[in-house]
Symmetry: C2
Subunit: 300 residues, 2 copies
Amino acid sequence: MFARLGIFGVGLIGGSIAKAARLNQLANTIIGYGREQDLVNLKLAKQLGVIDEYFINDAIIADLKNHSQSNDCIIIATPVASIESILQLLKPVWSDNSIYSDVGSTKVNIIEAAQRVFGTVPTNLVPAHPIAGAENSGVQAALNDLFVNRRLIITPTNNTNPQAVAIIKQFWQQLGSSIFEMSAQHHDSILAATSHLPHLLAFALVDMLGHKNEQSDILKYAAGGFKDFTRIASSDPTMWTAICSANKTEIIPLLEQYKNELTKLQSLLSSDNSDELFALFNYAKQTRQHFLEQFDKPKE
Amino acid sequence: MFARLGIFGVGLIGGSIAKAARLNQLANTIIGYGREQDLVNLKLAKQLGVIDEYFINDAIIADLKNHSQSNDCIIIATPVASIESILQLLKPVWSDNSIYSDVGSTKVNIIEAAQRVFGTVPTNLVPAHPIAGAENSGVQAALNDLFVNRRLIITPTNNTNPQAVAIIKQFWQQLGSSIFEMSAQHHDSILAATSHLPHLLAFALVDMLGHKNEQSDILKYAAGGFKDFTRIASSDPTMWTAICSANKTEIIPLLEQYKNELTKLQSLLSSDNSDELFALFNYAKQTRQHFLEQFDKPKE
């Protein structure tokens, strides 16, 4: 499909893209790009056969210049906070022969970053977000099938070349994903509710109980429910600081709404309103059941 | 160990106790007790060989009278809201030859219920709580090894016979559990934080997003993080209404504290304080790691 697949950030997501692309023969050569501090991880990625070669710093530009005529795909799979600086780095060697994409968990800020760097969003930059992940990070956590039966959201701008969108769609379909297309605004609003908010809630709970625990050892008696509930609080703090900051305008009102929900619970408890408490719990159970049956079929 | 093991409520927990007691040969005969509406489940439990016999309504009293000289153990494994009425039912046939226990998720209210029914808590009633469970319910969800490598908390009163405590300890040790002893107050305060609060938070999130989802289909794009985070929102609403009501004095202040934690997050986001946001996420990640390493060794 591509002569070369270049990946900035060969971590869990970038590494899994590389592995799945190799498995499905979507690129002749897979290259990892990074910074000084990524060297250990990039070396490991090459050693594991996840990538064929890697370049850091100035060598990236040299490599991209050498292949500016080639039919390549460049995917930025770094934390969202780094994407603007990578676009800046790519600007002088941006090639019409290549297609560019990213996997950022927020999309409005990526499009705004591209506008700042290029004036208008390049027609061959296709913003995308695979709804997949895990709390582990680094290339050693990468999986062949991380994207199989997962959803991938593409958020093209008015400017995006439909041909480029079609190619990125095809690429992800071959990795096993189901493709959905929507505006970046809609994406950010949905993901704030289903992903960013739960992550913040889990971090908040563990932070709060952790400080309590220092005095009383309460976590000693925590069980499976707590473990699952807080799994996402083991997610990478750097990555999540960037995501939450990037999407704060969507997240802050949701936190407010959630606090109101908790106030409602407090009041149902105080007033011994068991009927409404039951109704709320029951509605939640039914809703989750509906979610499991309707949307969670593919995997797990 | 016991001539007869009688279990009120042969559901996930009661059924798992029966299965594990049978496997470990801790009782010659295992009896299920219930109400009219439990008949289907009790029949199924007998059919599955989980219990040897069952009795409902008045037949329970007749059965207990017939065996009042026998070395029996009666465990109440119903939702906490029913325990007082079961103690009331047992009062006329309460036997000094038997040991009584329960598996309620809250302990102060059980002790208070016993005080109301008996005047003082009977010396042979040993309040206990296995820290184990799942979101499924009914005898078909019961497991042989639900309590293996799990913690069991016993909360004796000043009145409880140490001999009875020792026997209940031994019983649960043989089911594979590690035994901890503490006051009912301390138990309720710890469990409010590590179990009741997370359940309420999960119910609250699914309730909130469920109502949003009716308009916008947002749950369609929810992923594994959401699924794990909300697993406990699939728990039995009746059981959790009772638990939360029973322990509301511990839970309400925790909800307040948690709302303050969320207000802190909102303010860190609004003020773009990435350093402190990162520090909070990172502390949470480390704390959870510590929890996993220190306390979660046994199983899963």
